[in-house]
Symmetry: C2
Subunit: 151 residues, 2 copies
DNA sequence: CCGTTTGTATCTATATTTGTTACAAACGGC
DNA sequence: GCCGTTTGTAACAAATATAGATACAAACGG
């Protein structure tokens, strides 16, 4: 949803968008959008203004905002997590497993961020533009079902 | 937790472990372990036997089981997900965003699997072995707090 | 044949996320 | 300076997912 929001803002250019307008396209409540915009604002990706002529716009060119920035702004930091309840410390494996898995998760997180770091909001916008031109497109044709697990 | 389970099984070697024993080290309920073992069994990573002398053991050498196998066995398929409620199809961005993001998620998933595919259960076991030898270790010393979001 | 263990169903508790209502603070136009 | 508008945030309800627990039939070995 955050990527969706930023893509809309990229499209709008200089013109500020109101959370209500964005919510309409995303098909959700305006407060949900404001929460996202707030997080993006704290990360320095967007600027917002209150008041009658208010709204939000990108803080810098869409080409200079990567999905990695978005990821860091809206996701906490731990996508994968360890045991909810710590393992039994009396077991030789239990004592150390969390430390070792921590390294694994760090490696995974790094790989995720590297992939996301190579994709800009502008490139997303471009993909959408081309998608809407040709309907015989591999992008939009694939996937229409995965409504599972955390948005 | 699945990695924890497999590491224990790798340690046990030929001797089958009961779900109750595993649950003790992981510090959870035996049924939770059995659920994991069942998923791992369906993926062909472990074999289990009922009965008095029953229990579970690895279906093949620990070196030939990667965390990618584990990942596929226990996680559904979509770690990241799209909008819970589909975007507004009347919006130019809303129509195509899911297709484009689907490609992004596929790329991220591929990167995750690639990293996990290079780590075997055996290497996890080795890391734990060395961890427990030297206490001045970067692995186990780092991280002790991230109890956030899904185990 | 009998005790043990898996596999699975079912239920509860807990955590997380989303959606919703409400409202103070900020801002621009008049 | 006032007034309507919009953000930022709090508070709460609803939906969803996961973990933990109890129960029990089926399978297996001695």
């Amino acid at each position: 949803m955050a990527v969706h929001v930023l893509t809309l803002l990229a499209w709008a250019g200089d013109e500020p968008l109101k959370s209500e307008e964005i919510a309409c396209s995303v098909n959700t409540n305006a407060v949900v959008i404001r929460r996202i915009l707030c997080a993006l604002g704290r990360a320095g990706l967007v600027t917002s203004q209150t008041g009658a002529a208010g709204g939000s716009r990108l803080a810098r060119p869409a080409r200079e905002i990567t999905l990695r920035d978005v990821y860091r702004a809206v996701e906490g930091q731990d996508i994968f997590a360890l045991h909810r309840q710590p393992p039994n410390p009396k077991c030789r494996v239990g004592v150390n497993i969390e430390g070792v898995l921590g390294d694994v998760l760090a490696a995974v997180g790094g790989a995720v961020e590297q992939v996301l770091g190579e994709i800009s909001v502008e490139s997303i916008r471009q993909s959408i533009k081309t998608s809407s031109r040709s309907s015989s497109n591999r992008s939009s044709s694939s996937r229409r079902q995965p409504r599972r697990k955390r948005a």
